[in-house]
């Protein structure tokens, strides 16, 4: 069929007008099962300048590794009230922060477990279409066998790993670098 998907355009500098009513920074909600985590970071451009007009969208499974979506037919528990969708803008200093729970392992297409991960969509002024990436947790043995993470050359995998805050249990840091030596890995999904 000769119908082709519409063309992306940048969200521009004023996306908050349309997106702010549905900003979500507490992704799991207060009653969700699972280990609560706080993930904070900063978004940097190619000059290592902070980006104050970016917005992240998160999608993740619940603590049992199940998505609140009809297409997830895994025999795992749903968590009432848990949606798993977040939308977080950066502030004037390019910083963002959100709270959620660590997701459980979701099955890969071949049936093996994927490592716990969050999907991230990155949009900003200057970015003509969304970039997508994944956040993984450090010290997770499943990372070594995760089908998607293993597609990334080893030297760059650390750009997808959270860094635990040694002073605050459950707090993690994750920065996004659009360019440069620490350029974040983005996926072509």
């Amino acid at each position: 069929m000769d119908v082709r998907a519409s063309t992306w355009q940048t969200v521009g500098p004023f996306f908050s007008i349309g997106m702010k009513p549905r900003y979500v920074t507490d992704i799991a909600g207060p009653n969700a099962a699972g280990q609560r985590v706080v993930i904070a970071g900063r978004v940097f451009d190619g000059d290592q300048a902070a980006i104050p007009d970016a917005v992240l969208e998160i999608w993740q499974a619940n603590a049992y590794g199940k998505y609140a979506h009809a297409e997830d037919t895994q025999a795992k528990r749903l968590d009432p009230g848990f949606l798993g969708h977040g939308r977080i803008p950066t502030d004037n200093d390019g910083c963002f922060e959100f709270t959620t729970i660590k997701p459980g392992s979701v099955s890969a297409p071949d049936g093996r477990p994927q490592a716990p991960h969050l999907l991230v969509g990155v949009m900003m002024r200057g970015l003509l279409r969304r970039l997508t990436t994944r956040i993984y947790f450090p010290d997770e043995t499943l990372n070594e066998r995760d089908e998607i993470l293993q597609l990334v050359e080893p030297a760059r995998r650390k750009t997808l790993l959270l860094t635990a805050d040694a002073d605050h249990a459950g707090h993690f840091r994750w920065d996004i670098h659009m360019q440069g030596e620490a350029e974040t890995v983005f996926f072509d999904f």
Binding site: R4, S6, F15, G18, E71, V106, S107, R130, Q179, V185
Partner: protein, 238 residues
């Protein structure tokens, strides 16, 4: 190997490159390393769903959010959301934002000299219906100057944001108006190589939705990524 029906790759040339030097902001904000090609897993083929609980009643009408009527020509913008297989995308969230009729956004970073309109915020949202159709009532946004290059002006446009059924189907785009002389000079509109793809971002004047004495109608259909047939569906084809 994979029994997850994959969403199709975008048709070549129909999407912008991340780096499009005429759009100056893209130069330091676009990745320099190739993206890592990856298959869709359950994570990418699922995504948030939306319902009436997520919608403010009347949010489809941007002309009735304040005590008075906003300045500017009233328009109705409507269309159908389908996927690449022609399937209507029902009950999916559509968000829009736009400048007022003078070309000014209600945003602290818009320091343009055009006036704000106390009766216009520029935010609207709605769900598509059971046919995939949506409809907004608003005013025609103004063109406005921006700092990309000397004497740069954005053509009139409305920002659109859609989710579709999966993380992979997310779309944010801009709708333009037919006959706008600024389109030829706009680096954002022109960031995509395929001319047909660009032109599908231009709405069509529509008598069918033009209301006598009331408002002009513009039609803007939107296509989200479709999927390749699942092995099961394939088996039933002759």
């Amino acid at each position: 190997m994979s029994d997850i029906a994959q969403y199709r790759e975008f048709w070549p040339g129909t999407q912008p490159n991340y780096l499009h030097a005429p759009y100056v902001s893209s130069v330091r904000r676009s990745p320099t390393k190739p993206l890592v090609r990856a298959p869709h897993t359950l994570s990418e083929v699922t995504g948030p769903s939306w319902g009436v609980k997520d919608i403010v009643p009347g949010a489809y009408d941007l002309t009735k959010q304040h005590g008075g009527s906003p300045i500017g020509p009233r328009i109705v913008v409507s269309g159908r959301v389908t996927d690449e297989n022609g399937r209507p995308q029902t009950h999916t969230l559509v968000e829009i934002w736009q400048a007022n009729a003078a070309g000014r956004y209600l945003h602290r970073n818009d320091q343009g000299s055009a006036p704000l309109d106390p009766n216009f915020t520029g935010e609207g949202h709605t769900l598509t219906d059971e046919h995939g159709d949506y409809r907004f009532v608003t005013i025609r946004p103004g063109e406005y100057p921006w700092g990309n290059h000397h004497n740069a002006w954005r053509p009139a446009h409305i920002h659109f944001s859609l989710f579709g059924p999966a993380f992979a189907t997310r779309l944010v785009t801009q709708m333009y108006f037919p006959g706008d002389p600024l389109l030829a000079y706009d680096p954002i509109f022109n960031c995509t190589a395929d001319e047909d793809a660009r032109n599908r971002l231009i709405s069509q004047f529509d008598w069918a939705t033009t209301l006598p004495g009331e408002s002009l109608g513009y039609r803007f259909d939107i296509v989200l990524r479709g999927r390749d047939p699942t092995p099961m569906e394939n088996a039933h084809k002759d």
